[in-house]
Amino acid sequence: MRAPDLKRLVPEYVQGFEAYIPSKPDPELMKLYGVDHLHRLNNNENPLGPPPAARQVIQNFDPARASIYPSGDVYYLRQALARRFDMDPDQFLVGNGANEVITFAIKAFCQQGDNIVTADRTFAVYEWVAEFSGFEARLVPLDDGLGFDDEKILEAVDERTKIIFICNPNNPTGTWWDRARMRRFLDRVDGRQIVVVDEAYCEFVESPEFPDGMELLKEYPNLVTFRTFSKMYALAGLRIGYLAGSREVVDVMRRTCVVYSVNVLAQEAALAALGDDAGHIARTRRLVREEKAYLTGELGRMGLRVQNGEGCFLMVRLPISDTLAYRKLMRQGVMIRTMTGFRFPNWIRVSIGLHPAMEAFIRGLRNIL
């Protein structure tokens, strides 16, 4: 059998694209690094786990139901989201994690020759999806305060720009635009482009000045808001996220959306989580607040520069290579995220975990520096 001529079959923009290689499963990593435990501080997971009602749903799931297709358009969850945000269920699209809804947006609005605009040091999936789909990703440097630079973003926009992606708060810097700045930006875009505001970490923000993307949708029909159940709601393993927008805009994206991509357990756990989140959010915020205070204190005593914005993570600048720090910390059973890939060489991002994990991280860092 002849091998396929991949040079001919594969589009050039895919040939030139680097596949994302996720970490190996924990047992494999532990074997490789010779440790018997692993504190996962690399993926911004919520160490408290899902809200109680969602846990109950997961525990009670009848295995026989695995043979039945889920709701193709996540019917009940969209109803619940509509009630929560006082919107229409058709203003929501639910996907297999927020990563999937990014592809819905890009596929719906971009065609050959178009571009998207975002920051150079932000969640990488906007850039990846655009580039492996054959569209230019225009990357604008963060400003001096490591936040999205609204002026430079607007300068990068041209008539072929279809989507502007704003990560608010930004992953990994935790910087964010307040309500006034967001409004000013949306006013200046004035409907010429779709503006996606990714609010994956919005539930962690306590400031009253933080803009609520769901509220802004009522005024800005070109705005699309992304949210996820992976972070605050701790359902990352089930993969479920969603977007919201005006009915007209969402109707366009529905045409490129993959139905039946969200499994039944994810749908039901998310529904339960949404209905039982008040106490859970308060507990998580308290944990993040307390552990960030502990970390910033310890890291400050070590003389390290810390970027502590909003979200369940912070960044630390090291005097050694971040990839070396990763290996040395792995040998001590602590897994963090290196930041070279985010274009922050020698920085690491550490997710907020339970106190013993935070202590293990500080201990590990002291050992290697």
């Binding site: 494999e28 290579s321 290996r327």
Partner: protein
């Protein structure tokens, strides 16, 4: 890294088609930028290989030629069914008897491999074999004019240099750094432009609002997922200038989103910001005056290390485990050795010679039962030729290369350092006459 689609020709191995092969090679060489003399040398290589194959192939078999430009060179690949070529002739030590027909037959292949700057053996998944000949363009030496005066930069910015800036950098490099800090090709302005233009090399320039050059950093893509980095080089910048770190960080930003996993610095300058790199170890380098100098090698990973498998002869195991432990690298060391299985009779070793630096790097190209004796012949020849610095580079992703370990140790080589992901997996550099690391 090639810049464009290769030119291709497939022809049956028939005597009447020799002219087609030579015409293609010559015209492709000229079209892709070689001068007439260089194109003729490439043509000679193709002619010799084709003629050799004619005598050893079946008429229904064919040969495929591919020619591509790499900017400063043209690469011609000849691909054909395996088992038709006695590869041992490509050894530097090949000693052909010109008194018999077999020796004369092989002479053509020897001429082919020596008429180009770089030669390598290719294998493919379908059992085919290939020979690659890389012929470089000829460039004039730099002009006599001195490089411009440069001074401290104003507002620092890092940008990719254009062709004229690269030419300027070639002159500044030669004026500000000793030759052991950069490959000699960097000092040829036109060649540096083509090296970067061809995509195999990358460059960044530290400059300011007045577009003055204050420093640079260059890198080269190797065939795997490793990038070699050169510099950073600074020209008349004050002590503690931020330009060196800015150059490194800008390069990391560019490389981080590519498939490169490892950045290796074999020519570290005093300006290297060591906080961005890890020391892999040191080779010894015997200078012209006989002084034994330390030659440090640095690297940094560009991604979180997922761990990998390496193949090792049992006699190398202790060194590897100790080194991996020191470098905190997660590796599964799988032991291997020849256990009576069928192996080719004759091995092939490639040699990269740098006469300016009195240095020879030997790389196994083809396994064979005579690998130990072949290595011995190479060492003898290289020492006789006056090379004071002999190194052997083993790819731990290719199990058969580990078979050479006992012979290396027996012939006075010692493993000195590991270059993570330097080949298909990690590479180990052995040094002749050195102390064990």
């Amino acid at each position: 890294m090639m810049s464009a689609e290769p030119l291709r020709l497939t022809v049956p191995l028939g005597e009447n088609l020799l002219g087609v092969v030579t015409s293609f090679s010559e015209q492709a060489g000229l079209a892709l930028g070689l001068g007439r003399t260089e194109a003729m040398k490439l043509t000679l290589a193709a002619e010799e290989v084709f003629s050799y194959l004619l005598r050893r192939s079946r008429p229904e078999e064919s040969i495929r030629l591919e020619a591509a430009s790499g900017g400063y060179y043209v690469e011609l690949k000849l691909l054909f069914p395996s088992g038709r070529v006695d590869l041992s002739v490509f050894n530097l030590t090949a000693d052909l008897s010109l008194d018999d027909e077999a020796g004369l037959e092989k002479l053509g292949l020897l001429i082919a491999s020596r008429s180009v700057e770089r030669f390598s053996i290719l294998t493919d998944q379908e059992g085919g074999l290939g020979l690659s000949f890389r012929k470089e363009k000829k460039y004039p030496p730099p002009g006599e004019e001195p490089p411009p005066e440069v001074g401290p930069l104003g507002e620092l910015k890092v940008v990719p240099p254009g062709p004229e800036q690269l030419k300027l950098l070639a002159r500044l490099l030669a004026a500000h750094y000793q030759p052991n800090y950069y490959p000699s090709d960097f000092a040829l302005p036109g060649k540096l432009v083509d090296m970067v233009g061809g995509g195999e090399f990358g460059a960044l320039l530290a400059t300011d609002e007045k577009e003055r050059p204050g420093g640079c950093l260059l890198w080269r893509w190797l065939e795997g997922r490793t990038v070699l980095c050169f510099g950073p080089y600074l020209f008349n910048q004050p002590q503690g200038s931020p330009a060196a770190e800015a150059l490194v960080e800008a390069a990391l930003g560019r490389l981080a989103k590519t498939d490169a996993v490892s950045l290796i610095c074999r020519y570290p300058t005093p300006e290297l910001p060591v906080g961005h790199f890890e020391l892999l170890g040191e080779l010894e380098y015997v200078a012209e005056d006989g002084q034994r100098l330390k030659w440090p090698h640095f690297f940094r990973q560009l991604k979180e290390d997922p761990g990998t498998v390496v193949w090792a002869h049992p006699e190398l195991e202790e060194f590897l485990r100790r080194t991996y432990d020191q470098l905190f690298l997660a590796r599964e060391v799988r032991l291997t050795r020849p256990e009576g299985e069928e192996r080719p009779a004759q091995s092939v070793l490639g040699v990269h010679l740098d006469r300016g630096q009195n240095l020879a790097m030997v790389v196994p190209l083809w396994d064979g039962r005579d690998a130990g004796e072949n290595l011995g012949r190479h060492v003898e020849l290289l020492l006789k030729e006056g090379f004071r610095n002999l190194y052997v580079n083993l790819d731990l992703g290719r199990a058969w290369q580990s078979y050479l370990v006992p012979d290396l140790l027996a012939q006075g080589f010692q493993p000195r350092l590991v270059m993570p992901y330097g080949g298909t997996s990690d590479q180990v550099i052995f040094q002749h006459g050195a102390e064990a690391a």
